[in-house]
Amino acid sequence: MKTWRDVARYHLLVPRPLLLMPWVVLTAGFLVNLQSAIRAPASRHSAAYAAHHNTGGAAVIYFYFFVIGVIIIGRSLPFGLTLGASRRSYYAGTAALGVALAVADGLALAALQAVERATDGWGVGLNFFRAPYILDGPWYQTWLTSFVGLALVFVYGMWFATVYRRWSLVGVVAFSIAQVVVVTVAILALHSAGAWSGVGHFFAGLTAVGLTGLFAGLAALLLAGGQATIRRATV
């Protein structure tokens, strides 16, 4: 029962893309935003301005986590299976590593958000780590939401790469189309049922924590989908 841990260690043989790169990407995005905030008129260097203007720059780290999810399956699976890991252990170890990274990086994001808040947006009214509604609560709520969000995009990326492993490019195209179809059908069904106001009320009443819960459920669904897909993947 320790194979999944060996799989996680195996991924960490190349630590840079997992531990360092997310922060390189985030730092680059931050510096660009900081630069433009500094050059902005001084009237904007206030907490009041920052409260209503968001760069949403921290989203780059979510995008990067999606990318890691893709490459961690695509590049490392063949040798992992050759070493004698089962697909089950490989998937469990990889997902566990992704979740652990999401926990750690989510905590760092919450800490940076606290600093941003305490310094009135790094002294120049920059709103990089805050986002209204979803990332606007106390630090532990930001931690929770960031962690769930990072884990969600990670397992989404893993599922894409697993589909590619099993059915190659045709599979990925079909998989993408299927997602569009599912969403479209859901929208049409809601529309024909005249249920939009109900949906509106649901989301209007939904707190950030509630939305985080929805994300967590979605992540669990994607995780199960990837697991079902990798069971018959070949290398």
Partner: protein, 297 residues
């Protein structure tokens, strides 16, 4: 005793071709077996199924009595070295380190010794290795794992003759100290012949020959000389190929020759040359479909 490898009615069908067709054989524990056949004969598919990397369409393969796919009890006792292995962006020593975590009998000393033998730089990125060096890395992992079942699929692509000899020597030396079951697929048949205790010849997805290597020595003999003398000598015998060239003829006679045969051949001024393992495999697997004639010895 449970055989180390037991394959029954194993079939693997891809959309447009049949890679394995009702393959059945067993390999006893503690032997070195050659898996021989032409390109595309199905050797790699067979080994991938044994290693749990591919799934059968029907039939099955058991390793130490268990199905390999998704079965870590089996996978931990098995190592598979494949010619086309892809590695993540890691260094040579990382690949060996990872292998040491997964194989319970891993020998770090042997891995280091093999690295030195092959001149493999431990700090080099695997993707920067030449083809031969990459093969050497696979061999180092395959031998140092000391897994009970060791599968080598064309392990020495790109390796020079000296390095191949190192592989044979190391394999035999370590096998003597740590017996295990080794299934070796190779094109360099005569080179590996001395190593093999048993051979399995596969052609177009079917097993065409399984035999002890000793039993194959002298099982067929090329008889050559004047046409008339050859015809006289081979009359009534099972023969494989027949080649003629201006008054001379060469015929492969199937079945062992006794002393009286040799004396007679000498008096007829015939040359006798026992077929090498490679020539036998060419006979067994080298014929176009449907043209295989009189292969019963």
């Amino acid at each position: 005793m449970t055989p180390a490898i037991s394959v029954t009615g194993l079939t693997r069908r891809y959309r447009d071709h049949l890679a394995l067709d009702e393959v059945t054989f067993e390999v006893e524990a503690g032997s070195i077996v050659g898996l021989l056949g032409r390109n595309g004969a199905g050797k790699t598919t067979l080994l991938r199924i044994l290693a749990g990397q591919e799934f059968p369409s029907s039939g099955g393969a058991l390793v130490h009595g268990g199905r390999p796919a998704e079965n870590e009890a089996v996978l931990r006792r098995l190592v598979f070295v494949r010619e086309d292995q892809t590695y993540p962006d890691i260094r040579v020593r990382h690949a060996l380190l990872a292998a040491s975590w997964f194989y319970p009998n891993w020998s770090a000393e042997l891995a280091d010794a093999l690295l030195a033998d092959f001149g493999l730089p431990a700090g080099r990125m695997v993707k920067r290795l030449s083809r031969g060096m990459r093969s050497a890395l696979g061999i180092a992992i395959g031998l140092a794992a000391r897994a009970e079942v060791t599968l080598f699929d064309e392990p020495y692509a790109g390796l020079d003759a000296v390095a191949r000899q190192i592989f044979y020597d190391r394999l035999l030396a370590d096998y003597a100290e740590h017996p295990r079951t080794i299934l070796l697929s190779t094109h360099l048949i005569d080179e590996a012949a001395g190593l093999l205790e048993r051979v399995i010849v596969i052609d177009r997805g079917r097993i065409v020959l399984t035999a002890d290597a000793d039993d194959l020595r002298g099982v067929a003999t090329a008889v050559s000389g004047p046409v008339l003398a050859v015809d006289e000598f081979t009359a009534g015998r099972a023969v494989w190929g027949r080649r003629r060239l201006i008054g001379q003829s060469s015929v492969v006679v199937v079945g062992a020759l006794d002393e009286a045969d040799r004396v007679r051949a000498g008096s007829l001024h015939l040359d006798l040359a026992p077929l090498t393992l490679q020539q036998l495999v060419v006979q067994a697997a080298g014929q176009p479909a449907g043209a295989r004639e009189r292969t019963s010895a």
